[in-house]
Every structure is written in structure tokens, then in C-alpha cells.
């Protein structure tokens, strides 16, 4: 196999060598527990404070509003469960969307089943946008939380976060956003966008795995989710993952600084690949919005073929991508996101997501599209669905 072409950066990213280098001293040299008083641990404390500042400045927050966690899923769980717990006197109603990550959806289902929450799952339109009118209509006096993702992990659609924040603010409802895919990929300002809580994860931006944060606006009265020691201003127990936090801070600073240039380069490659696929492969469609999508996200459906076989064939050329087919979701149903935007099952089964990185080149892009064209015709040649379709149209 030749060169690896990694186009699954929405799943995870390479931990960048500079990030690893920044982390290394905190394993072997400055390994002190940041909660201790001796001078040796001062380096650990300083590193934590610095990383907190680096992260906070990426979203226009104050450092003391950043709480490090074990990752995006923990942040989502914390935000939802602790908000429900803290605000249940006010009401039990949560509003979310049908295309959230499972860390949100399954937490909502848990709150419904076990804790008596009432959850509204907003529909999205054919491009994956939440309707602001539907959101307004869903609000009741019992609504305590709106949680809508910043950008969708599968189809890349960027939600109208500023407008949603505005609506939440006007109604005095807390607003949480899962920004795991958006953090350092698109500009975020928690004050301008009226975001009260925001989840993010380190490994999506070339940082290490196993580290994330929850931004909690000052004044939002949610309590601890992991109980124990007094770390993270008594809100998240557990000895701080200093190397992870240092790596996260380093990655975030770099990703934020390079965001504009990176987005420009990625958008050029993204749009080139999308237009080549749509023009050169018949019966293909773009999933998600053309404009308001993550700079690095491509999601297409190639009709009459199934996603997993496409992935296996791409893999044989060293190309890593993902699909929303049932076979890759581990159930009989294809991705809930593709279902929510109204794709028929067989079209959803033929979806292909490719997510770019800073390292993706135009040559890679052309190589991948060339291979994809061959793969699609090979798989269609053996597809009974394609045979029936051709016969019907003769």
C-alpha cells in the first residue's frame, strides 16, 4: 500500500508532533500534582493556568469559565444532567434536535426515562438546519435548557447558533451547544452568541484524546458531575490530566491562530471534490448545506451502492473515510442524521463522509475522486438496485 490518505478527521485527528512535544515534559519532568503546595508542583499549576487561558481566548470566555473534562461526551453529559438537576424546580423541559451526537441524544433519553424530563427533538430541514420558528413554538414555561449542536459531525451543517442564543436569552432559558466539531474550525464567541455552556474535545483539533472541556458561563449554577476532590473550582473532581491539558491548550492556540487560512485552503479542496463528484459521478448528491458547512466536511450519497463496501474499497487504496450506512452504524438503520434530513434508506446506506485536514492536498483530492469513480462503477455493476433502475428507465 502506498501513501495513507486520511480523510476521517471528524472521527479523530493526528496528535500533532508539536503538541506531543509540548506535553512530554509534563510526564517525566513536571509530573507534580497540581493540587499540592510544594514548589515542585508550581510548573504543573502554571501549565494548567496557561492552557486555560489559551482555550478561553479561542471562544471569548474567561479562563475561570473553562472546566477541563475527560472529553466531549463527558462535557455533554455534565451539561445536560447537571442542568436538569439544578433547574428542575423551574421546569423539566429540554429542547434539542434530531441530529445531535449520541452523547446528547442518549443523555436526553436517559433523562426522559429515568428522571422525568420532557424532551422536544426538533426536526431539521433537508439541509440539516433547525427551524427558529419551530424552536420558538417549542418553548414552554417549563423549558430549562436548549441544547443544539454548533455544527453537525456527519453532514457538516452549521446551525444558526447566534439566533438560537438570542431566542434562548429572550426567554431566559439556558443555551448549551455541543461544539465538538466546530471549536477552532469556525469562529465562536460565547458572549456575542449568548452561549451559556459549550462542549469541546481535544482530539478533534490535533490535540490528544481523553481531554475535553465544558465552558460554563459565570452565574450558571450547575454542580459537580464527577464527585471527589476540589479540582476545577470544586466542579470536576479528579487529578488534572496536566499533559493532556497542555496538549489541548497548545493545539487550540495553533488551530485558532491558523483557522482563517486553514478554512480557506480546506474550502477550496472541499468544493473542488464536491463539484467533481457531483459532475462526474451520476446519481450522486451532496448531503448538508453547500455554504453553511464545516470547511473540512464532504458528505455525499452515491446511489445504488452501500457504504461499507465503498469504504473497504477505498481502504485498499489507503484512503480512510466513513459512512452513515447501517453496516457501519452497528444497527439495521442508517445514520439518524441522514434519516432526519429525509433521505430514503437506500440513499442513506450509500453515504460517504470525507473530512479533510490541514495536510490534505489538491493532489490527494483528485486521487481520491479518481479512485471513487472507479469504485462506484465497479459496485454499481454488481448492484441489483442499479440493474432495476436502468431497466426501469429504458
Amino acid at each position: 500500500m502506498g501513501k495513507l490518505i486520511y480523510l476521517d478527521n471528524a472521527a479523530t485527528t493526528q496528535t500533532s508532533p508539536a503538541v506531543v512535544e509540548a506535553m512530554l515534559p509534563y510526564f517525566t519532568e513536571y509530573y507534580g500534582n497540581a493540587s499540592t503546595i510544594y514548589d515542585f508542583a508550581a510548573k504543573s499549576k502554571e501549565a494548567l493556568a496557561h492552557a486555560r487561558e489559551q482555550i478561553a481566548s479561542c471562544i471569548g470566555a474567561k479562563p475561570e469559565e473553562i472546566y477541563f473534562t475527560g472529553g466531549g461526551s463527558e462535557s455533554d453529559n455534565w451539561a445536560l444532567k447537571a442542568t436538569f438537576e439544578a433547574y428542575k424546580q423551574k421546569g423539566n423541559h429540554i429542547i434539542t434536535s434530531k441530529i445531535e451526537h449520541h452523547a446528547i441524544l442518549h443523555t436526553c433519553e436517559y433523562l426522559e426515562k429515568e428522571r422525568g424530563a420532557r424532551v422536544t427533538y426538533l426536526d431539521v430541514d433537508e439541509n440539516g438546519f433547525v427551524s427558529l420558528d419551530e424552536l420558538k413554538k417549542a418553548i414552554t414555561p417549563e423549558t430549562i435548557l436548549i441544547t443544539i449542536m454548533f455544527a453537525n459531525n456527519e453532514i457538516g451543517t452549521i446551525e444558526p447558533i447566534r439566533e438560537i442564543g438570542q431566542i434562548a436569552r429572550e426567554h431566559g432559558i439556558l443555551f448549551h451547544t455541543d461544539a465538538v466539531q466546530a471549536f477552532c474550525q469556525v469562529p465562536i464567541n460565547v458572549d456575542e452568541m449568548n452561549i451559556d455552556m459549550l462542549s469541546s474535545s481535544g482530539h478533534k483539533i490535533n490535540g490528544p484524546k481523553g481531554i475535553g472541556f465544558l465552558y460554563i458561563r459565570k452565574g450558571v449554577k450547575i454542580r459537580s458531575f464527577i464527585h471527589g476532590g476540589a479540582q476545577e473550582r470544586k466542579r470536576r473532581a479528579g487529578t488534572e490530566n496536566v499533559p493532556g491539558i497542555v496538549g489541548y491548550g497548545t493545539a487550540a492556540e495553533y488551530a485558532s491562530k491558523t483557522m482563517a487560512d486553514r478554512a480557506k485552503a480546506e474550502i477550496a479542496i472541499r468544493d473542488h471534490m464536491i463539484s467533481r463528484i457531483l459532475n462526474e459521478i451520476p446519481y450522486s448528491r451532496l448531503n448538508g448545506d453547500k455554504e453553511k458547512r464545516l470547511p473540512n466536511n464532504i458528505n455525499v450519497s452515491l446511489e445504488f451502492i452501500e457504504g461499507e463496501s465503498m469504504l473497504l474499497m477505498l481502504d485498499s487504496f489507503g484512503i480512510c473515510a466513513s459512512s452513515g450506512s447501517a453496516c457501519t452504524s452497528g444497527s439495521l438503520d442508517p445514520s439518524h442524521v441522514l434519516m432526519a434530513i429525509g433521505l430514503p434508506h437506500e440513499v442513506a446506506h450509500g453515504s460517504l463522509r470525507m473530512t479533510l485536514s490541514e495536510q490534505t492536498t489538491m493532489e490527494d483530492a483528485d486521487f481520491v475522486v479518481d479512485r471513487l469513480k472507479e469504485i462506484v462503477s465497479q459496485l454499481r455493476a454488481m448492484s441489483p438496485l442499479y440493474e432495476d433502475f436502468i431497466r426501469k428507465n429504458q
Binding site: 452501500e306 461499507e308 463496501s309 473497504l312 452497528g330 434508506h345 437506500e346 448492484s383 441489483p384 438496485l385
Partner: protein, 146 residues
């Protein structure tokens, strides 16, 4: 995740295609679940031997590999022998399948049965031990969906 045999049959599937005026054609599975197999049989009416067998499949790697292996296992066999090719036999011949993919081998077994049923219907005969396949999408209203 897949054995080498599965990958081999996925990457170099045997007997892909159609048989013109096939003696029997069976289609099983549905697009909703993401697997459809169509099996074509060319059966010698005198001897009852399956002279040729081809397939077309929409589905995952395991679906393609089990279809390919199933065609290999029934080719040159008598109808009764083909009927005895179980999903277990297909799986064993492929050195196993991941648990979530076992249904693909069941589909392959059903595809053989559906094609044999079609043959029996066309020729007005009954094949001992063969009952009407429940999963044939080529009949009934569902056909309109495709």
C-alpha cells in the same frame, strides 16, 4: 474485522453478473436494511445439475463475499445438493464472519432458495424440502419501491 477469505471474495468476487434467460432468479433482502442479493441459476433440465450460477448484490463487504461464496458452493451441484448449502456452510467456507454479519450468510442461503423456487414455479414442479421463500422482493407490492 474480516477474514482473508472474506476480503478475497469481496475484492475478487466470483460469478458476478447476470444469466440471460436464467432457469431461476431469486432476489432477497431489502434496501431498507442495506442488503439485496439476486441469484441467477442455469439448471440442466435433464440432469438437474446447476451448470452456472451468477449474482448481483447491493450490500456490505460480507454481503458480497457470502454471495460470491454461495455461487461457488452451488455451481456444479444438483438441486438437492444446492438446497443443502446452509448459511453455516457459507460461513465456514469463508473462515467465519463477525457476529453482526451472520445475517448476510442467511441472506445468501435464502437467495439460493429463492432462485430454486423460481425455477420450480416456472417448470411447475415441486422440489422436496423447498418452501416458498418469505424474503423474495421480486414479488408483491414492494417491487414498486425500486
Amino acid at each position: 474485522m474480516y477474514s482473508q477469505k472474506v476480503m478475497d471474495h469481496f475484492q475478487n468476487p466470483r460469478n458476478v453478473g447476470e444469466i440471460e434467460n436464467a432457469s431461476g432468479v431469486g432476489t432477497v433482502g431489502n434496501a431498507k436494511c442495506g442488503d439485496i442479493m439476486r441469484m441467477f441459476l442455469d439448471i440442466d433440465e435433464e440432469t438437474g445439475i446447476i451448470k452456472d450460477c451468477k449474482f448481483k448484490t447491493f450490500g456490505c463487504g460480507a454481503a458480497v463475499a457470502t454471495s460470491s461464496m454461495a455461487t461457488e458452493l452451488v455451481k456444479g451441484k444438483t438441486i438437492q445438493e444446492a438446497l443443502a448449502v446452509t448459511n453455516k456452510a457459507v460461513m465456514e467456507a469463508l473462515d467465519g464472519l463477525p457476529p453482526v454479519k451472520v445475517h448476510c450468510s442467511l441472506l445468501a442461503e435464502e437467495a439460493i432458495h429463492a432462485a430454486l423456487w423460481d425455477y420450480a414455479q416456472k417448470h411447475g414442479i415441486t422440489i422436496e424440502g423447498l418452501s416458498k421463500p418469505k424474503n423474495d422482493i421480486s414479488e408483491g407490492e414492494e417491487e414498486e419501491d425500486y
